[in-house]
């Protein structure tokens, strides 16, 4: 009985730890992105400020 309870607690702790590790990895890592392939930044002037 006592051994079964210990096993249950150990498994629960392992599951919680694994969940925390996966959540932390997802939160911290994220994924990449693609930079703009064309175009560029231009100062507002002329018709932009009419």
């Amino acid at each position: 009985m006592g051994g079964g309870l210990l096993t249950l607690v150990r498994r629960a702790l392992v599951a919680i730890g694994a969940g925390i590790a996966v959540a932390a990895a997802i939160r911290v890592r994220g994924s990449g992105g693609v930079p703009p392939q064309t175009g560029g930044w231009r100062e507002l002037s002329g018709s932009d400020l009419d």
Partner: protein, 335 residues
């Protein structure tokens, strides 16, 4: 400027942003005296010494009706009480808060401001502030604006850095499909491209007030979101108190405003931005707005800079103060 009367501006806050506001106002010919008030007497004295003639020390929170305008660049969370005092004295107010709860409180002063026939400008900084102005300016080229997405990189002085840290662990307020939604700070990662040399940065939801300022000014807008750039360390440590004392001033920063909407039958995306040290950008923006308030060009009420009709004039004034926004060109529109 139309007013020829001597103008005295009371400035609350002698920090990184306040110092820039004071310098910008003193360099203008339209402000005769800037009265600087800050509980940090040393910071206020240093700033006054650096400004020379036309700057003087003020104490307390009382405002009398002889003041032409009040600029509040004190830490976020301290601005509403000061704004209320200015309204009661019948003095126009320019605030720079970037705290969501405070921006709500400031916008709620609208009736009092209208009753007193004075403008109360809410969030006249880099973001919010210039972001709202660029959104309004860019929207003129659309028949209908459906989405507005703003983002920022960087912090100004220590108070701004602390607010940035707090914001990342606070609930973000977005406008989605015609209603408000709250999402966890630090979620919603999006890679946003800022003007060079800042480039691409991962941005996340945070407790940012921009949607509160933008939504009332864009009838029919479907989505409004605000994000701030953060590093992995920022995100991991955001629920904790700041582990390190913030720098006296952050480095180069940037803002980005993306508008999505319709022009005729065509759907279109326009992206605007600006690059500057955030305290410098915020100081220039607040000073430009102050000059417009002094010249009576802004209407009564409590609103953000998306509520300004003559965006071109304000952008010209801002450019004269050294901050020149940019626009991304070459992006294809889509049908």
């Amino acid at each position: 400027m139309t007013s020829t009367e001597p103008s005295r501006v009371v400035l609350f806050g002698a920090g990184a942003t306040g110092a820039r506001v004071a310098r910008q106002l003193r360099s203008s010919t339209h402000v005769d005296c800037v009265e600087i008030r800050d509980p940090d007497t040393e910071a206020a004295a240093r700033l006054i010494d650096s400004l020379g003639d036309g700057a003087e020390r003020g104490v307390g929170r009382d405002i009398d009706s002889s003041v032409s305008a009040v600029v509040i660049a004190s830490p976020a969370g301290t601005q509403t009480a000061l704004a209320r005092r200015a309204i009661h004295a019948g003095v126009p107010v320019i605030t720079t808060s970037n705290k969501t709860a405070e921006v709500r409180r400031l916008l709620a002063l609208d009736q009092e401001a209208r009753f007193g026939s004075i403008p109360v400008i809410v969030g006249a900084g880099f973001m919010p502030g210039l972001t709202c102005l660029l959104a309004k300016h860019g929207a003129r080229q659309f028949d209908e604006v459906e989405e507005i997405h703003v983002a920022k990189v960087g912090t100004g002085g220590p108070a701004c850095a602390r607010q940035h840290h707090r914001a990342l662990s606070s609930r973000g307020v977005d406008w989605r499909d015609g209603r408000w939604t709250e999402r966890s700070g630090g979620s919603g990662r999006e890679l946003a491209w800022f003007p060079d040399p800042v480039g691409g940065r991962d941005c996340y939801r945070a407790g940012l007030p921009d949607a509160l300022l933008l939504v009332p000014e864009f009838a029919g807008v479907q989505r409004v979101t605000a994000r701030q750039a953060a590093t992995r360390r920022d995100r991991l440590t955001s629920p904790l108190p700041m582990l390190w004392r913030p720098h006296p001033e952050g480095g180069i920063g940037a803002i980005r405003v993306e508008l999505r909407g319709r022009v005729g039958l065509e759907r279109r995306v326009d992206v605007f931005g600006a690059i500057e040290r955030p305290a410098v950008g915020a100081g220039a923006m607040a000073a430009a707005v102050t000059l417009h308030v002094l010249s009576g060009r802004l209407p009564a009420g409590a609103y953000g800079l998306a509520g300004v009709d003559d965006t071109t004039a304000l952008l010209h004034t801002l450019a004269a103060r050294g901050v020149k926004p940019v626009r991304f060109e070459g992006m294809s529109t889509f049908v």
